[in-house]
């Protein structure tokens, strides 16, 4: 029982971040028809930019931070992340979209990913970093850990889950209720129509590239202190979010968020749960969700009518 509770809480906390990345992937796919391979690295970029301003590149000695400095760091990190997201779209993705060149945008989104990874790697030279905690969770419970139904759980996990759900709600609300969101929906359903009625399509899409990165980055920053964070963590975040978005066919924000939670839960369950003597263990936790997604894609494609368009 205690293990189940622990799996659920850690799974949801990880899944919340995946979910927000999935929301971003879905939105971008529906707006432009592309898959943004650099998403996870953009999130990592925001996390590391925040870390740079908050604590520099040296190994972090303190586990907590002054809130003022942290908020400033977060703001700078998010602004940089949004600017890079929007700028890379305008410079390297849109030209290929206009030409209808799939190879072009696949190559440029991957190149952006590796340029960002390399940039972080050249600045932060240690294999992984421990992110300082802006909120003093370690004052709650035993050093930030409470017992719930016999399980020891980091208090931060609840905060991350709540924050992620809140951000997903904000994203869904923005999409449904604001002028900006309705404009995005118009673009998603018919680009030419949207352009025809005078929507500034390019600007709105570029803005969205910036905003979805920042959205996921907030959750990633909140979750970062739970475990050492590395460049690879960011890339995997992007990949898992993408898998979640694929599972729900780049659906609505809530569907994508739920799929992200599902991936997080599956991962935590595979990592920890044992049925009788049978346990898979941690090495399967990352691979099986990916394999499941691949199998699902294959199943759908074999069942569907041919959908081969020009490359």
């Amino acid at each position: 029982m205690s293990l189940v509770v622990q799996v659920i809480v850690t799974g949801l906390a990880a899944g919340g971040v995946y979910g927000l990345v999935a929301v971003g992937h879905s939105l971008i796919y529906r707006l432009t028809g592309i898959v943004y391979f650099a998403f996870g690295d953009l999130v990592a970029f925001a996390v590391f930019a925040t870390l740079l301003v908050a604590a520099g590149t040296a190994p972090v000695s303190r586990t907590s931070l002054a809130p003022g400095r942290f908020l400033l760091a977060l703001a700078i990190g998010l602004v940089f992340c949004s600017a890079v997201g929007a700028a890379t779209y305008v410079l390297f993705i849109e030209p290929y979209l206009l030409r209808g060149s799939t190879l072009g945008w696949v190559a440029s989104t991957l190149a952006i990913a590796f340029a960002l990874r390399g940039m972080i790697g050249a600045t932060f030279t240690r294999p992984a970093y421990v992110f300082p905690d802006p909120i003093p969770f370690d004052k709650v419970g035993r050093n930030g850990v409470v017992s719930l139904a016999g399980a020891s759980i980091q208090v931060r996990s609840f905060f991350v889950i709540a924050l992620a759900a809140l951000l997903a709600a904000v994203a869904a609300w923005t999409l449904q209720r604001t002028r900006y969101g309705r404009a995005l929906q118009a673009i998603a359903s018919d680009v030419e129509g949207a352009r025809f009625v005078g929507l500034p399509v390019e600007t709105l899409v570029a803005l969205t590239f910036g905003l979805v990165g920042a959205l996921a980055a907030v959750a990633a920053v909140a979750a970062a202190p739970s475990a050492p964070f590395s460049v690879e963590t960011g890339t995997l975040l992007g990949l898992k979010g993408l898998v979640a978005a694929m599972i729900v066919r780049f659906g609505s924000p809530w569907a994508a968020f739920a799929a992200g939670l599902g991936v997080g839960l599956a991962e935590a369950a595979i990592d920890n749960l044992r049925i009788g003597d049978l346990g898979l263990g941690a090495q399967y936790g990352e691979i099986l969700p990916l394999a499941f997604a691949l199998a699902l894609i294959a199943y759908r494609s074999l069942r569907a009518e041919p959908d081969v368009e020009r490359a």
């Binding site: 796919y29 028809g33 592309i34 898959v35 391979f37 410079l91 390297f92 030209p95 290929y96 060149s101 799939t102 190879l103 072009g104 696949v106 190559a107 440029s108 991957l110 190149a111 952006i112 990913a113 590796f114 340029a115 960002l116 990874r117 390399g118 940039m119 790697g121 050249a122 030279t125 890339t235 990949l239 993408l242 898998v243 694929m246 941690a282 090495q283 399967y284 990352e286 691979i287 990916l290 394999a291 997604a293 691949l294 894609i297 294959a298 494609s301 074999l302 569907a304 009518e305 041919p306 959908d307 081969v308 368009e309 020009r310 490359a311």
Partner: protein, 614 residues
């Protein structure tokens, strides 16, 4: 008997040699000289200390050129080449280190394992749109990378799998031997690409890459060809991976991460996806980057490899930002601008007149019906198209004309009813199967293969009835394949001569006028040797002179015994060409007969012409 066989073989070989001599030119001599120099380099240059690195580079180049089979030839954005490399490497390493297999079977196992993974991935993703193919192969790359790292039982953990020293005829395989082998393999893979790309299988793949729907319409087995290209690409990677671990004598599980797939894809895009030498150039540039990055990194006291990703990413972004055709195509365009293009000067070749239909046959439909949800698109259509006649199908927009055509060529499946040609039922046959039976249709929108020249576009259609020139036979230029290629070329030239495009053979088809592109579509369809030809608004947007030209062409086809169905809105054109007219309204056939008969039919007047007078 046997002497006749020998004589036959001798003459075939002589013909092959003659053809090869005829095709030999300065560029081939230069290429041969470069290959010879590359093979001799280790004997002349003091490279012994760096040989392992150079040989490893050559193997990586083999995998990168292999990737062009998928990316360049078929247009499949595969991000999983590193995974296939890893699968090949570890299949061979496990067989050698744990199973104690000898060298050759282990290498074949590596190739086979990667090919099998390629077939599975290709089958699973073959019908996806290309964005999803990129995602799926990217996920595959990660699965393989994570599996190798997380399962030391398979991959040998941190030490990797150590291989016994390989011996060939009692001699250990030195890095130099690997280098020679790698260069030979590289040449084979490049020459293979150069042979396939401009011939029937390559043209079919290019057509599928440009306009999948139009290629399917001409009977190209798009899915099979794409699967073949993808599998070849994976198999080449598997072999390169297997040889690579043999060279290193150890299989390192951390060496096949997603970065490797990225690097290979980048090499292809950077160098130019549609040139087999491009990836080699791309890889050279990338290793120059990593060299520079290592220097810079040591200066700044960074751990090795940190700057490499960044510089590779920046370099690729720079090339992509500049326009992104790739290094080699850009260099070639520059060369052509400065020195002129000898390939463009091509003497016009005359084709023979278009032949009569050999076995003319009528096409009949019985009670053909199709509904989309609640909408009845077509209801119980009975139609008969006779050889040597033009049948016009008219009706208001949305009356089911195009649906009828799509049902006839097999693009849609009917809910009920049958289609038969010459008494032979076609139900259940694919578009390709129907094309084999001589039923081909063109689409309403102009669909041309903009990357191909005029002649190449028509060769795609002329390739339908190939039986002995699949990828392998084309690769080895068997006598039958060469004969078929010559016959296909004759058919294509006849079709082009017939529509009047014989003077434009070498022109890119995207440069043709709108009317020229319409004629090109017609010629491509005619090159499949149809008995029944279905044209969806062939005259849309044509001017008066062009309409007259088109009408003359249809007359010519009628005289050659084709059964023609023409969907048309322009009634003046219908009056000029049609022997018989059928009128559809709301999915039902409401009248059939000569245009004069139909025009006075009261049902037609109310349903279609309203109060207008014809």
């Amino acid at each position: 008997m046997s002497s006749a066989l020998i004589e036959h073989t001798r003459s075939a070989l002589a013909a092959g040699a003659r053809e090869a001599r005829g095709a030999w030119h300065l560029r081939a001599t230069l290429a041969a000289a470069v290959v010879a120099a590359a093979l001799l380099a280790p004997a002349v240059l003091p490279l012994a200390g760096r040989m392992p690195d150079i040989a490893a580079f050559v193997y990586l180049a083999v995998a990168a050129v292999g990737l062009t089979y998928a990316v360049g030839l078929a247009g499949i954005p595969s991000l999983g080449q590193g995974a296939f490399l890893g699968i090949g490497a570890f299949a061979e390493a496990i067989a050698r280190a744990k199973g104690g297999w000898p060298l050759l079977p282990a290498l074949l196992l590596g190739l086979g394992a990667a090919a099998a993974a390629g077939v599975l991935t290709g089958l699973a993703t073959g019908r996806l749109r290309s964005a999803f193919v990129a995602v799926s192969t990217w996920i595959l790359a990660w699965i393989v990378a994570l599996t190798l790292i997380s399962f030391p039982g398979i991959s040998g953990g941190a030490q990797g799998l150590v291989l016994p020293q390989a011996e060939v005829l009692g001699h250990p395989l030195s890095p130099t031997a690997h280098y020679e082998l790698g260069v030979a393999l590289l040449v084979l893979v490049i020459v293979g690409y150069l042979i396939i790309a401009p011939r029937a299988p390559g043209l079919a793949l290019a057509a599928a890459r440009e306009r999948s729907s139009a290629a399917v319409g001409l009977g190209v087995p798009v899915a099979r060809f794409r699967l073949g290209a993808f599998t070849a690409s994976a198999a080449i990677a598997g072999l390169a991976g297997a040889l690579g671990v043999e060279l290193a004598q150890v299989a390192d599980p951390s060496g096949y991460d997603a970065t490797l797939s990225f690097k290979l894809f980048v090499a292809v895009i950077l160098g130019g996806a549609r040139t087999p030498l491009g990836p080699v150039a791309g890889l050279l540039v990338i290793s120059a980057f990593s060299h520079a990055a290592e220097r810079l990194g040591t200066l700044r006291g960074l751990p090795p490899g940190r700057l490499e990703e960044m510089l590779t990413g920046y370099g690729l972004l720079l090339v992509l930002g500049l326009g992104g055709a790739g290094l080699l195509p850009a260099a070639r365009a520059w060369w052509r601008r400065s020195w002129g293009d000898p390939a463009r000067r091509q003497a016009p070749i005359r084709g023979e007149p278009l032949a009569r239909v050999e076995h003319p046959a009528p096409l009949t439909t019985r009670r053909l019906s199709k509904r989309f949800g609640n909408l009845v698109a077509l209801s119980e259509l009975d139609l008969e198209l006779s050889p040597g006649s033009v049948h016009a199908l008219i009706g208001p927009n949305g009356s089911g004309k195009t649906t009828a055509l799509n049902l006839l060529v097999g693009r849609l499946r009917p809910d009920q009813g049958t289609v038969a040609v010459g008494g032979e039922a076609l139900d259940g046959l694919t578009t390709r199967g129907r094309a084999f039976h001589g039923i081909v249709g063109t689409r309403q929108t102009t669909e041309i293969f903009s990357d191909l020249t005029v002649l190449e576009s028509v060769l795609v259609g002329a390739g339908l009835r190939r039986r002995h020139s699949g990828a392998f036979r084309t690769l080895f230029a068997t006598p039958k394949a060469r004969r078929e290629a010559a016959a296909a070329r004759r058919r294509a030239l006849s079709a082009l001569e017939f529509v009047g495009l014989a003077g434009e053979l070498g022109r890119p088809s995207s440069e043709l006028s709108a009317h020229g592109q319409r004629l090109l579509m017609l010629a491509s369809a005619l090159a499949t040797e149809p008995r029944v030809l279905l044209l969806d608004e062939p005259a849309a947007g044509a001017g008066t002179a062009e309409l007259e030209h088109l009408a003359d062409l249809l007359d010519g086809l009628r005289k050659r015994g084709l059964a023609l169905l023409v969907i048309e809105h322009n009634l003046r054109f219908v009056r000029r060409i049609a022997d018989k007219v059928s009128v559809l309204a709301a999915g039902r056939l409401i009248a059939s007969g000569s245009l004069a008969e139909v025009a006075v039919d009261p049902a037609v007047r109310t349903a279609y012409l309203g109060r207008q007078r014809l």
